[in-house]
């Protein structure tokens, strides 16, 4: 039993009253004096040459302040592989290509101006299937690379290839093998707040960008690089987060609309806001990366995995954002979910004229785990082993070093599998094939940072004022995950204050230290560790102050008492005890003597000491302020793509019971057990919110969600046709929180933001198989696919 006062407790997020009273200011609500509204004109074709753009009518429209095309701004390449320009002037390669942009005094006028721009295209042959795109003679999406060199293939110069052990040897040792084709599709992140930003230059051309990015320093870095190429080298950039209306991966990269907004602001000398409408959010925001896998696995007669071979093809779309790096995260479950000695993995990203992709909650993990975990079931069946038992045999264990060189420290996978079995009623429900069935799937995910850039650090500053209030200047982004509460709990605990004493400021590059971003389920782990270290320093300063002032404050207290009560006798005390800061500590706002916490006199409200000691005059003045930059001793992946990129890893298992209607193909989830090894729950109620939300998105991924593309065009850009789950989709979720504690986590915590999503879809697919004996390996598992599979199985 820990004696923590605040961490581990379900402290309510009462700090966030602005969000329930309508006062929280999102980008939608944010205005700057003289602000203009920007709109973007997108391509009419998936692949075409631009022959002519006529902006004459738009420019003449009263209220229009700027009309920009690719000819009006510097011809600078941006993006992960520098494979696109901000506005496209010669060729468009996808429907979302930005062809022109307008800034006007109102949104309506901006839209009217957009409608007045005439563009003449010459359609070019296009390719929409990555396999087709890999073939010789396929239309080339790009004719030259970033350096202007001719390109001969649509395959990206990003070879993801990983090998460990010896596949041939693994094959020889196998008693059973399986080979399956598995595929996943595009899904939209569906942030309820749409994308947008406000760009504003001062008279010296320094930029303030109010932006929803969850990587404020990455965003600043990319804009800085852009500035150096458009003649703004040396100009200052400040990125500030408004309240962020959901993120889920969309805020990882600097999107093209941000560069456009900057160009419009630069051109007009006025602040400019661009805010997507919902249709744009569906059409012009990079969704989750679709992937096709061929997976082979084997096991010996005892059920021990012998090898795993996976080849993946990813439809990159027309340009490259973070989607093209999802194979690096796929590698984690591929190489390290369960013990597998021999691994071969290759992922090929291919340009097509489809929408380009980026990150979404879980990164590439949900895709790859769908392949691995459905294959685990087929292999278990072939080997004649119960799928739960099969997973138990091969489970990861504390102390493992995986083929990817991930160092598994804490690992509660065994307990997760066991709890799922018990809670879902595995023994009595499995294998009935009576329309009801159970299935499970597990996960591994980074949970202690993810070293994908040189530093994986997080900086934090803590200062304490004379009233005993603590300001924490965080370098991360609050995108709704509950960090204002969780970080205040950690600060209160480690500094010896109370959560309500703590205010946390997020998302401002000018105020805060550096951070690698609020992604990869890393924030609580990183910011928590940084906070503990900063609080250690700040506490030392307070205790030094206490040692200096406590004796005299106590003595003057006695004097006052004597004045009030002449009979009061001042006690004989050994003040040397409290004159040494090493003897003191703070807890729940009280400074006390460590060796005798209930000492009747050596106890004092910390604010009393702060009032006496802070900025009190020449020579004596001091402040309590400390900073810490926590950059864990992890590794970037080496040439073989091996390395311990996270301090610790999350594990979990989802169990699902479904009922499948053979007539309609409808799948009903009767129960879903989500067991997660979270290290230690910092705030159980808030943590459950992460699990529930991720599970729902995972069920959507498994059953309903799909961006329908027809020859590159998004056909369902609205919530009527894109089926996100609603409150009417009742999923009885039973969360199980497994807390082995993690030695490197803040108070034992590990990351939990993404994991809930990862194993959900494969667990459903496995349960459907158990219910009706047909296996669907293509997401989402719609009623049509279920009926089709039933038909084919007959």
């Amino acid at each position: 039993m820990s004696d923590h006062l605040f961490v581990g407790k379900s402290i309510p997020r009462t700090i966030e009253t602005d969000k329930v009273t309508g006062r929280a200011v999102y980008i939608d609500d944010f205005k700057r004096p003289g602000m203009l509204y920007g709109k973007i004109l997108y391509s009419d074709y998936a692949h075409a040459r631009i022959k002519r753009i006529d902006t004459g009518k738009a420019e003449k429209l009263p209220g229009v302040r700027a009309v920009l095309t690719g000819k009006d701004i510097p011809d600078v390449r941006v993006g992960f592989l520098k494979d696109q320009t901000v506005l496209k002037k010669d060729v468009v390669r996808q429907f979302r290509d930005e062809v022109a942009a307008v800034a006007a005094i109102s949104l309506e006028i901006a839209q009217e101006a957009i409608d007045l721009i005439e563009v003449e295209y010459e359609e070019l042959p296009a390719v929409f299937d990555p396999v087709e795109a890999m073939k010789e003679g396929a239309p080339l999406v790009h004719e030259v690379d970033a350096r202007g060199k001719p390109v001969r293939t649509n395959i990206l110069p990003l070879p993801w290839k990983f090998q460990a052990g010896d596949i041939e040897q693994g094959l020889k040792e196998s008693a059973f093998t399986v080979k399956d084709n598995v595929s996943t599709t595009w899904v939209n992140q569906c942030c309820m707040g749409t994308s947008g930003c406000i760009a504003e230059f001062d008279m010296n051309k320094n930029l303030t960008l109010y932006n929803q990015t969850n990587v404020i320093f990455g965003d600043k870095g990319r804009i800085s690089e852009y500035f150096s190429q458009i003649g703004l080298k040396g100009k200052k950039i400040r990125v500030i987060n408004p309240i962020v209306g959901g993120s889920f991966g969309t805020k990882l990269d600097t999107d093209i609309y941000e560069f456009i907004c900057i160009q419009l602001a630069l051109n007009t000398g006025r602040p400019v806001k661009i805010l997507f409408d919902r249709e744009e959010e569906f059409r012009a925001l990079p969704p989750r990366q679709p992937a096709r896998f061929t997976i082979e696995q084997g096991c010996d007669s005892e059920g021990r995995l012998t090898f795993r071979k996976i080849e993946a093809i990813l439809d990159n779309g027309a340009y490259t954002s973070w989607g093209a790096t999802t194979p690096s995260v796929m590698m984690m479950p591929v190489s390290s979910l369960y013990r597998v000695p021999n691994i071969y993995y290759q992922a090929t990203c291919v340009y097509t004229n489809n929408i380009y992709c980026q990150a979404m909650r879980g990164y590439g993990n949900p895709q790859a785990s769908f392949a691995v975990e459905t294959s685990m079931d087929t292999l278990a069946e072939k080997a004649g082993i119960d799928p739960a038992e099969f997973r138990m045999i091969n489970r990861n264990r504390p102390g493992d070093l995986t083929p990817m060189r991930l160092k598994i420290t804490s690992c509660g996978l065994e307990e997760c599998i066991e709890s799922v079995k018990e809670s879902i009623g595995w023994g009595e429900k499995k294998g009935k094939k009576n329309g009801r069935g159970v299935g499970m799937a597990s996960l591994i995910h980074v949970a202690g940072g993810a070293r994908v850039t040189l530093s994986d650090g997080h900086g934090i500053m803590v200062k304490v004022d004379e009233n005993g209030f603590v300001d924490v200047i965080e370098s991360g982004t609050d995108q709704g995950q509950g960090s204002p509460t969780v970080i205040s709990q950690i600060v209160a605990e480690s500094l010896g204050f109370r959560p309500e004493d703590v205010s946390v400021i997020f998302g401002d590059t000018a105020l805060s230290l550096w951070d690698a971003g609020t992604h990869a389920s890393r924030h609580t782990f990183m910011a928590g560790n940084a906070a503990i270290r900063a609080c250690e320093k700040a506490k030392k300063q307070i205790l030094e102050m206490a040692a200096d002032y406590m004796p005299q404050l106590i003595k003057s207290g006695f004097k006052k008492m004597m004045k009030k009560n002449p009979e009061f006798v001042e006690p004989e005390l050994d003040y040397s005890l409290i004159s040494d800061p090493a003897n003191l500590d703070i807890r729940d706002r009280m400074v006390f003597l460590k060796r005798d916490p209930s000492h009747p006199h050596f106890n004092m409200e910390v604010s009393q000491i702060l009032r006496r000691g802070l900025h009190v005059g020449t020579g004596e003045s001091r402040v309590v302020a400390a900073e810490a930059f926590y950059d864990p001793p992890t590794e970037t992946l080496d040439r073989e793509l091996k390395g311990n990129l996270s301090m610790t890893y999350a594990f979990g298992t989802t169990g699902v019971e479904v009922e499948v209607d053979r007539e309609t193909g409808e799948v009903k989830i009767l129960k879903l057990v989500a067991a997660h090894d979270v290290g230690k729950a910092m705030n159980p109620t808030l943590l459950l919110g992460q699990v529930y939300g991720a599970v729902y998105t995972g069920v959507g991924y498994g059953l309903t969600e799909e961006i329908k593309l027809e020859k590159g065009r998004v056909m369902n850009p609205n919530f009527l046709d894109y089926k996100m789950l609603t409150a009417m989709d009742v999923i009885p979720i039973e969360p199980v929180i497994v807390e082995p504690g993690d030695e490197d986590g803040p108070y034992g915590a590990k990351g939990v933001g993404e994991p809930g999503l990862v194993p959900t879809a494969p667990a459903i697919a496995n349960a459907i198989y158990d219910a009706i004996g047909v296996r669907i390996r293509d997401l989402p598992i719609t009623p049509e696919k279920v009926l089709e599979a039933i038909k084919n199985s007959k």
Partner: protein
């Protein structure tokens, strides 16, 4: 542009607005009165982020023509705390029960729930879910929102 003048009650106050006839109630609330609690999540009545209460009923203000508000009573999320600034039980319950994450859907969720509880103080879970069926949320999976509404109903 043709304008329309409308008078209505907004969070208990009599107000008048003269706005383009094409404006919606949402746009008027946000632009004219600077009540930005109601959000535009889709603009076509599919997500519920713009929900406000008109004459006791929850409506999608993003598709509510402004001319039709004449003489009616509008309550927004800004108008439900009491006069002393104490949060409405729903607001309190959403905070206490983690019914809020990013918060973008929250104003609409609370107003849909309020319309329900005003008419039906002891709803079943099914009635609660039906009342927010038109309010989409990506963060919470609705679980703690439903729990928050139950909690508020008990108060």
């Amino acid at each position: 542009m043709k304008k329309v003048s409308v008078s209505f009650t907004l969070n208990g106050d009599p107000v008048t607005a003269e706005v383009p006839v094409t404006w919606t109630l949402l746009k008027t609330l946000r632009e004219t009165f600077e009540f930005t609690g109601a959000k535009e999540g889709c603009g076509v009545g599919e997500c519920g982020a713009c929900t406000v209460i008109v004459n006791g009923n929850a409506v999608n203000s993003c598709i509510f023509p402004i001319a039709e508000i004449e003489g009616k009573s509008v309550v927004t999320v800004e108008g439900i705390a009491d006069k002393d600034g104490n949060l409405h039980p729903l607001q309190q319950a959403f905070l206490e029960n983690n019914g809020v994450q990013c918060g973008f859907c929250t104003s609409g969720m609370i107003m849909s729930a309020k319309a329900l509880l005003d008419n039906n103080p002891n709803p079943t879970e099914d009635e609660i879910r039906t009342s927010i069926a038109g309010n989409l949320c990506r963060c919470t999976g609705y679980v703690q929102i439903v729990e928050a509404i139950k909690m508020a109903a008990k108060k």
